[in-house]
Symmetry: C2
Subunit: 86 residues, 2 copies
């Protein structure tokens, strides 16, 4: 399955707003390092720097099994919300 | 299909190294804003801050159709590479 399908199938129709989805998967050998938790706040900060983000429209979920941690960030971007270059 | 399956199926066996995959999908209403290109460099910088990254082991691909832009970052993390907290 192409990644477009994966994201596309969840597409809300009609697109009355824009949407940013971020998926992070860390495939680990040992259970030790928790890279995903380290990256989470900083990636949210990078997004907030460029997009007007309403905290109520940001969904953050984390999943973890023996060898993989997954972080999913789903941001609804209201139409007309400005995208700041820097 | 759960997201674990999506990432899991590409799992390299046996895991002789760790792997970080980042997927960003921006579902747009208009073709205008190029949020993914804006976020790309800063997310790579956040990753490099926390993980010893060898530029030859980082694959960055971008795809774009009429209403969606997708960025995929695939980082191979050599075993024993340090994960820095800050």
């Amino acid at each position: 399955m192409s990644i477009f399908n994966f994201f596309g199938k969840q597409r809300t129709a009609p697109a009355a707003r824009e949407r940013l989805q971020v998926l992070l998967a860390h495939e680990r050998v040992s259970a030790g390092s928790d890279l995903i938790s380290l990256l989470r706040e900083e990636i949210l900060a990078v997004i907030a720097k460029h997009v007007q983000v309403d905290s109520e429209r940001v969904r953050v979920t984390m999943d973890r099994d023996e060898h993989m941690s997954i972080l999913e960030i789903d941001v609804e971007i209201p139409l007309g919300a400005s995208v700041r270059a820097a």
